[in-house]
């Protein structure tokens, strides 16, 4: 292809940009002429002012009446604006004020004349609510000063103002803040009005803001208030359960682990499809887990296609817009907030003790032997049992190890160690501190924030410490009346220092298990002679943690955005910004060898898994830049026709680089320095990838008479992730709204009905998101590259390197599309005491890039991903809020309830023609659980032998094995050919999709106290624990360590047990089945906070503006019927019994403003 035309176009574009900028600066230079020349005699003042305006570039603002009939005589040369005005206005009883680039003229009133007389005055008054009742507890503040007081129980107040010109600010939660000028000498009666609901509040939407009342899409918003009142470790923690339809998946409670988000359960079953929403922080895509939650001002969640369409191909699964705190005009304000938290897992696993272990192990061994199943190749001996039982009964007088009769150098262990207690003995602390400084004058504002967070891991001995520093700086300045510059910079610096034990698969929470998988309770921590236990076969986590090396991760995420806002004329606004991000991540793990000793300190061997000494380094360097430019026109014609149009351009580029280096045989094994090695074959690896995205977008709003709302959004996107012929996609959307409450025929209800709005929207968005990682497979999914690596065969003494066959890629590979229809209702009643909204949606994910094509294995590779398959999500969300006051207005309360529900159904999946149950199939409801129907346990061996269970497990089935129902009466238990048409004895026994997620918030304010309760949960969900060790003492072999619950397994003397007979690799009993299906519904009290705000009288003494102390309990109470081995939140997010659980925590915090 010839691209010369393109180059030319680009050149033209560049030139045009330059010309435009030059023109801009030319204009600005002219408009700042300070030289005023006047020669007027008895000229009308209006005309003279016009001349000054023309020469200086200033705009005048005045009441025409005041200027009318006034004349002026003036002669000036090269005078300044001030000189000119002073000259013109003397003797005119007019004063002027320069505000920005506007000059305001005012009549010189008697009050103004007294302006200079600064004399403190004492002001008294009474505050009433809307019903005329006294309103206590209202904060009264002198504007611009530190003087603060509050109204008493009868609503009265007294305050000393600095002068007669002072303005008092009256504020109270739930009421509109009022500013009233001091009227000295008389009792001021202030009538507070309930906060005109949030309807006129501005909500951040894509590339702009919108009045809440004028929204036509499904948008939810969260203010900083909901995040500030308690300590949260990260944004996910704070948003969890707050907004119906926003699902936050907290993966686990490991220090430094973030959350993932999804909106409305809308999803794709596409291969590598990333169905997380686009998260934009101040307009730039960022990882929400790396943001300091204290820096957040507001969050908008764009749920439907209409509101997200402007973001195109990355927004198919919704958008989360985060706005951070900006500087505020006024006096410098200094804030501090800090908290100390102590955490404990919501639950800790319980493993069997030595006695239970031996019993279960021997039962499994006997079962295996009796039924031709798996048996241990190193069974426990009779002597082991005798000694272990003796120690169990009387640890003080019996040894926990004895020399092995078969090998006198080695111990056999017969102790009884609770490894969980050894490794996770207590509570782990967290602390956080935030300092912020904001302020500014009329033209320039600034905000400086510094956050610090520190969390210690629960595995005490590992001494894991996670730290995060988040400094940021924001500057905003109005350079001229038409030009605003904005610069923001932020850094997130994290450090995670952990033991290297997880690196070698030897346990530790980072690889998903609490203790090494084969760590028997029989093993003591130390040998009788004082050395660490463990003799090659059994790893001792305490030894590894203390001696095996460290794994340290450091991350720096730097962001800077420069933004220019130009207002070339009334109603016009042009914004252009450029963002740059550098993310670097460096991880270094080193392994240090240590010795293992046998009986009486005999040297046995060097512990093999950390030998030889080694260092691994993983580096990541990502660079990202984004450019946005958009222009807005906004105007109201004839008072009834509101019009806003926006058009813009966005482009983004990201470059990924990773590096990996490995060397072993360090010169000094304890020095984690990769350079100091004797390695024969160090390993170096690296990848480099990139992606680019460019799009043009528009929005058009039209509102007629505040009643009829119409909005069009759209975007035309191109991405580097698809082949040139199929890389562009258009995402159109339209939405309409009808403010019924504003109709004339509703006027009778005006007092009770504050808002009633119907909304409807439709839009189609393409999806380009794949896993965001530096791999060619994710970044160039349409190009099949040839894999390379090393092969375990030595060519001339060196590992062979190879280049392999590429995978298959469909030639038609392109965007998948998400089409959403949404209808909604917003309402606000009874003086806005009751408000809420309801949304119903149908989302079709079409042409999903599905990799689940089922093809015969003779193909020899993974079937190519195809644009096939449609998924439909139907759901609704409801939210309801009630706020009022009680007890003579002294108690204000607010109750919010939300609920969301959805179901996903596969509409078509042409890849799975045979409707195999092992992948998605047409008609499937996502989350469907197929399983067998349990009929208890076989009572006798004969009963078991009579049933053909060979499809599930080939060993002989015995009494105590699970008895399944023969649903299809074919005389055997099987799964047919595992398809929808022939599923044997399986049937649908449940669904794992969480249904009816709900949240409940209660806020109370009583005098100086505030109280918040937040409950969140799911009303319906099933959980299939198959594969979890809770239900299978020895799932795949003899090496697993059963959980304590496994002790209730069937034996001839315990036939009413919960679990079947113990087996090594007892796959027959481990089928998905009705008996062990769990009801995963739950309600969890996420937060209970009690706060106390010190009263103004006291605050004045210590020169503080605000001081609040609080105590918060998180996750303290959970109600669920789930089997006690599981945390309901963890399993909902795909975790299991072994996942590091989320924490319950108690925090103490303080918030102060100077």
């Amino acid at each position: 292809m010839n691209f010369s035309w393109l180059k030319k176009t680009l050149l033209v574009m560049k030139l045009t940009t330059i010309i435009m900028l030059v023109a801009l600066f030319h204009v600005s230079a002219k408009s700042y002429s300070q030289k005023i020349n006047l020669n007027e005699t008895n000229a009308p003042l209006k005309k003279v002012l016009q001349k000054i305006g023309k020469q200086s570039g200033y705009v005048f603002f005045y009441d025409t009446k005041e200027v009318k009939d006034k004349t002026v005589t003036v002669k000036l040369k090269d005078a300044s604006v001030n000189q000119a005005l002073d000259n013109c206005l003397q003797n005119q009883l007019l004063i002027y004020k320069v505000v920005g680039n506007t000059i305001i003229l005012q009549e010189q009133s008697p009050a103004n004349q007294e302006k200079e007389q600064l004399k403190p005055v004492k002001v008294t008054g009474k505050i009433l609510d809307e019903k005329g009742e006294p309103l206590p507890g209202v904060t009264i503040k002198v504007k611009g000063e530190n003087t603060v007081t509050a109204s008493g129980s009868d609503g009265s107040f007294a305050i000393t103002a600095p002068s007669n010109n002072a303005v008092l600010v009256f504020s109270f939660i739930g009421y509109a803040t009022q500013e009233v000028s001091v009227s000295a000498g008389q009792t001021m009666i202030i009538k507070m009005q309930p906060q005109a609901n949030a309807l006129n509040e501005l909500v951040v939407v894509g590339y702009g803001t919108q009045k809440k009342v004028n929204l036509t899409g499904a948008v939810a918003s969260v203010s900083s208030k909901d995040l500030e009142s308690r300590p949260i470790t990260n944004l996910g923690d704070g948003l969890n359960g707050l907004v119906p339809g926003l699902n936050v998946n907290v993966q686990n409670g490991q220090p430094g682990i973030g959350a993932s988000f999804s909106i409305r359960g809308v999803t794709s079953i596409g291969a590598n499809s990333n169905n997380s929403p686009l998260v934009l922080v101040d307009g730039v895509a960022r990882d929400p887990n790396l943001i300091d939650p204290y820096d957040i001002e507001s969050i908008s969640i764009l749920k439907d296609a209409a509101s997200s369409a402007i973001y195109g191909g990355r927004a198919a699964y919704g958008v989360i817009l985060i706005t951070t705190k900006q500087g505020k005009k006024g006096k410098t304000q200094f804030n501090y907030s800090g908290s100390y938290t102590t955490t404990r897992p919501t639950l800790l696993p319980k493993y069997v003790n030595s006695e239970q272990y031996i019993n279960l192990f021997n039962q499994a061994q006997r079962t295996g032997a009796a039924s031709g199943g798996y048996t241990s190749s190193s069974p426990l001996t009779a002597l082991d049992s005798i000694k272990a039982f003796a120690y169990f009964a009387d640890p003080a007088h019996n040894p926990d190890a004895y020399p092995d009769p078969g090998n006198p150098n080695k111990y056999r262990y017969v102790g009884n160690t609770d490894w969980i207690k050894v490794l996770y003995p207590g509570w782990a602390p967290q602390q956080q501190h935030n300092l912020s400084l904001t302020g500014g004058d009329d033209k320039t504002t600034y905000a400086v924030n510094f956050g610090y967070f520190k969390q210690e891991g629960l595995e005490k001995l590992a001494n894991q410490i996670y730290q995060r520093f988040t400094p940021s700086l924001k500057l905003n300045t109005d350079v001229t009346r038409w030009l605003t510059l904005n610069l923001s910079m932020s850094l997130t610096n994290t450090k995670n220092n952990n033991s290297a034990s997880s690196r070698i698969g030897q346990g530790g929470p980072t690889n998903g298990s609490w203790i090494p998988g084969d760590l028997r309770p029989l093993q003591p921590v130390y040998n009788p002679d004082g050395n660490y236990s463990g003799q090659g076969s059994y790893s001792n986590p305490v030894a590894i943690i203390n001696s095996g090396g460290r794994d340290i991760n450091k991350q720096n995420d730097f962001w800077t955005t420069a933004k220019v806002t130009i207002k070339p004329a009334d109603h016009f606004n042009i914004v252009s910004d450029f963002t740059y991000n550098a993310l670097s991540d460096y991880d270094r793990a080193n392994l240090v060898p240590f010795n293992e000793y046998g009986v009486n300190g005999t040297f046995l061997d060097v512990f093999p898994w950390t030998n030889p000494s080694q260092v691994t380094e993983n580096r990541l360097n990502n660079n990202y830049s984004a450019f946005n430019a958009f222009a807005t026109y906004e105007n109201t014609f004839n008072k009834k026709h509101y019009l806003r149009a926006l058009i813009g351009y966005n482009q983004e580029y990201k470059h990924y680089q990773t590096g990996y280096a490995f060397a072993n045989n360090l010169i000094d094994p304890s020095l984690a320095s990769i350079g100091q090695n004797n390695a024969t074959k160090p390993v170096v690896n690296g990848t480099e990838t990139e992606y680019a995205l460019a799009g043009t977008f528009y929005r058009l709003n039209y509102i007629y008479d505040e009643k009829y709302l119409l909005e069009f959004n759209g975007r035309y996107d191109g991405t580097s992730r698809f082949a040139p012929g199929s890389r562009f996609a258009f995402s159109p959307s339209v939405s309409v709204g009808w403010n019924i409450a504003k109709e004339g025929f509703m006027s009778g209800l005006a007092n009770d009905l504050n808002e009633l709005k119907l909304r409807a929207s439709y839009g189609v968005l393409p999806n380009q998101k794949t896993t965001d990682a530096a791999s060619s497979a994710f970044q160039y999914p349409y190009i099949a590259t040839m894999p390379y690596g090393s092969v375990n065969y030595l060519f001339n003494g060196q590992l062979g390197q190879y280049v392999g066959a590429p995978g298959l890629v469909s030639p038609t590979f392109t965007w998948e599309k998400v089409q959403t229809k949404n209808i909604g209702l917003d309402y606000s009643l009874l003086d806005t005491r009751l408000s809420g909204s309801f949304d119903y949606y149908i989302t079709d994910t079409k042409n999903m890039l599905i990799g689940s094509q089922v093809l015969p294995a003779v193909l020899g590779t993974t079937p190519p991903v195809l644009n096939a398959g449609d998924l439909r999500t139907k759901g609704w969300e409801i939210s309801l809020s009630w706020r009022d006051r009680l007890f003579n207005n002294q108690l204000s309360y607010n109750v919010r309830v939300g609920m969301a529900n959805y179901i996903n159904t596969i509409i078509s999946d042409p890849n799975n023609t045979i409707l195999s149950l092992s992948s998605h199939y047409q008609g499937e409801r996502l989350g469907t659980i197929w399983g067998y129907t349990t009929e208890g346990f076989y009572k006798t061996n004969a009963e078991a032998a009579a049933v053909n269970n060979s499809a599930l497990a080939g060993y002989t089935w015995l009494a105590g094995d699970v008895k399944y129902a023969d649903l299809n009466h074919d005389g055997k238990i099987d799964f047919g050919n595992n398809t929808v048409s022939n599923h044997g004895d399986k049937k649908i026994i449940g669904n794992s999709t969480p249904r009816y997620r709900f949240n409940f918030n209660l806020n109370l304010d009583y005098k100086a106290f505030d109280f918040t309760a937040f409950v969140q949960g799911v009303l319906k969900a099933d959980f299939d624990p198959t594969g979890s060790r809770v239900f299978n003492p020895f799932p795949s072999d003899e090496y697993g360590i059963p959980y304590a619950y496994g002790a209730d397994s069937w034996t001839p003397t315990n036939t009413n047990a919960y679990f079947a007979r113990a087996r090594f690799a007892g796959s027959g009993n481990e089928q998905t089945q009705t008996k062990y299906l769990q009801d995963a519904a739950y309600a969890r009290v996420k937060q209970l906070t009690l706060g106390y705000s010190f009263q103004p009288a006291w605050l004045n003494k210590v020169s503080l503006k605000k001081l609040r102390v609080y105590v918060t309990g998180s996750n303290l109470i959970t109600i669920t019927s789930l089997f006690k081995g599981f945390d309901p939140e963890i399993i909902q997010n795909g975790g299991s019994y072994q996942t590091y659980p989320i924490d319950k925590a108690v925090s103490f915090g303080i918030q102060a403003t100077l």
Binding site: M13, T375, A569, I647, K681, T687, L794, S950, N977
Partner: protein
């Protein structure tokens, strides 16, 4: 006016941006990965591609080898022979991934601008591995779909073809191997495949197929038996290989399998070489903890030093103790099984067989390929080499093929079996003197073939051939012999020598032989086990594929 100018310019700029199809900005291609378009240009490229095949080489790792046969009875019963294998939905060995890897090469290698001779070296390597893979599929499943083209279009019927009959697939395997033999050079650099490696595989595959056809009654076996012999003879006559010996019949056989560099060993046609820190294995330790053991039936096949079976030899001392049992026996027995005085690890000498522990199940602890060095015991730190093709096997192939062809003369035996016997100081096998063993596993076979099979079993103990041999001899029912799951004799007075706790749970039969599996006294062969089950999903997807008999 200025304002208007500004607005229009700005809008114009945005429109221009919008109108530009930013292909140059959006065109991004892999920066650090290899694209197929630029590959297969040079000989290095061909080599790089072929290197991946080498991970498929049939390395003779001793740990747990032959557990699925009548030779051994591991603590953990073999699930396949126990009949407890279930039909899988997918997987189960029905994999054509490697076939595709080979076919991709064949579809692309000709892009390289090289001489045909050079290219054919790598085509030869590719066909060597494709042949080996198909042979393995045939051994496991019988008839299999034969794919010899690189499939791009997944909608094509190529994916839905029927299974090609066993014999036709093997004829293609033979063709592939012939090409490999003809085109892979005699000498190659850096441990790459050479002509003799190809011949060794040719000999192995052809003997398997020839005897399979004969004993399964499939017919047309002669060509294969002849080809096996021809290939073996080409290796023998090359003069490059001989049996390893230092003149010490009591130690040479054991020492051969604990070598740290077999690359210059005359018995290694091809070896798996390991080097410290670069590539190491864990075999030594695995073998010491595998709970493994030879079966009574296997141990019985060792002849006495007079060349007679235990049932006939006056030298046989009985099996009341392992000490007695090993007396006057083929020296390979004491070099394959841990007996008194064997250094288990670093000076820890064996006195009694370590039954009741994870060291051995039957008491006949396999030591072939196990050293006593602590360094080898360390995790993944051993560099003991393995054989891929061992000259001894070639000699056994020649003897067996010739015998099956009816052409095995004494001079054939002298060039093959008797060379093996010379190394360990056993008397020669003399055709004229052969006596049928009354306890033979193959009572109806001619004594010559019977004894050649015995020699093979003994020499190739733990080399991993036994189950394949049972398949090709149609001799699966050998596992029905109760002796195949028995261990040493544990008379009460021997038991008393052990700590009670160690052998407390060891069960013996009426004659005091250790019963490895207390719940069964014998295994039962089912003829369906000659072929493995085909995953159910394959049959659902492709009705042309039918399940193997009995499954």
């Amino acid at each position: 006016m200025k304002t208007k100018y500004l607005i229009y310019t700005t809008l114009a700029v945005i429109m221009i941006f919008a109108a530009c199809k930013k292909d140059s900005f959006l065109n991004r291609t892999p920066l650090s990965d290899i694209s197929p378009q630029t590959f297969f240009k040079s000989e290095t490229d061909l080599q790089l591609y072929c290197n991946q095949y080498y991970s498929q080489l049939p390395v003779q790792v001793f740990a747990n080898a032959d557990d699925q046969s009548d030779d051994k009875a591991n603590n953990s019963i073999n699930q396949y022979l126990a009949g407890t294998t279930t039909i899988p939905v997918t997987g189960g060995g029905w994999s054509f991934t490697f076939i595709r890897t080979c076919n991709y090469f064949l579809a692309n290698y000709s892009k390289a601008n090289l001489s045909d001779a050079t290219k054919n070296i790598y085509v030869g390597e590719t066909l060597f591995f494709r042949a080996m893979t198909y042979w393995n599929l045939v051994k496991r499943f019988g008839d299999v779909p034969y794919i010899n083209k690189y499939i791009v279009d997944t909608s094509k019927s190529a994916l839905y073809g029927p299974r090609l009959p066993h014999k036709q697939v093997m004829d293609s395997v033979f063709k592939d191997l012939s090409f490999a033999v003809a085109n892979i050079p005699v000498t190659t650099p850096n441990g790459r495949l050479n002509k003799y490696d190809a011949l060794a595989l040719m000999a192995r595959v052809c003997l398997w197929e020839g005897t399979y056809r004969r004993y399964a009654g499939a017919g047309d076996e002669t060509n294969y038996l002849q080809a096996a012999s021809t290939a073996a003879e080409q290796i023998m006559s090359s003069g490059k290989f001989s049996l390893y010996t230092t003149g010490n019949p009591k130690t040479d056989y054991y020492n051969l399998f604990i070598q740290y560099d077999l690359r210059s060993n005359p018995e290694a046609i091809m070896c798996m070489y390991y080097a410290p820190t670069v590539l190491m294995n864990n075999n030594d330790r695995t073998m010491g903890e595998a709970g493994d053991g030879y079966s009574k039936n296997f141990v019985r096949s060792y002849l006495c030093t007079d060349g007679l079976p235990t049932a006939l030899s006056p030298l046989y001392k009985g099996d009341d103790s392992l000490d007695a049992e090993v007396t006057n026996r083929d020296p390979r027995m004491a070099q394959s099984i841990a007996t008194r005085g064997f250094d288990f690890l670093n000076g820890d000498l064996i006195t009694l067989p370590r039954i009741g522990t994870s060291v051995t199940s039957t008491g006949y602890q396999p030591i072939k390929g196990r050293s006593s060095r602590l360094a080898d015991w360390n995790a993944n730190a051993s560099t003991l080499n393995f054989f891929i093709f061992r000259y001894a096997e070639t000699l056994l192939i020649e003897a067996e093929a010739k015998a099956e062809l009816g052409l095995c003369t004494q001079s054939v035996l002298d060039l093959t079996i008797n060379k093996l016997r010379d190394r360990v100081g056993m008397p020669h096998m003399i055709i004229a003197n052969l006596v049928k063993d009354p306890q033979s596993n193959f009572p109806s076979l001619p004594v010559l073939i019977d004894e050649i099979r015995r020699e093979r079993r003994v020499e190739l103990a733990s080399d991993g051939f036994r189950f394949d041999d049972l398949l090709r001899w149609h001799a699966g029912s050998l596992i029905n012999n109760p002796e195949t799951i028995l261990g040493i004799k544990l008379l009460p007075k021997v038991r008393a020598e052990y700590p009670a706790s160690q052998v407390g749970s060891v069960v013996v039969d009426g004659n005091y032989y250790v019963r490895v599996y207390p719940s069964i006294t014998t295994r039962t062969w089912n003829d369906k086990l000659y072929l493995s089950p085909i995953p159910t999903q394959e049959i659902t997807l492709n009705p042309a594929i039918k399940q193997n008999p009995g499954w």
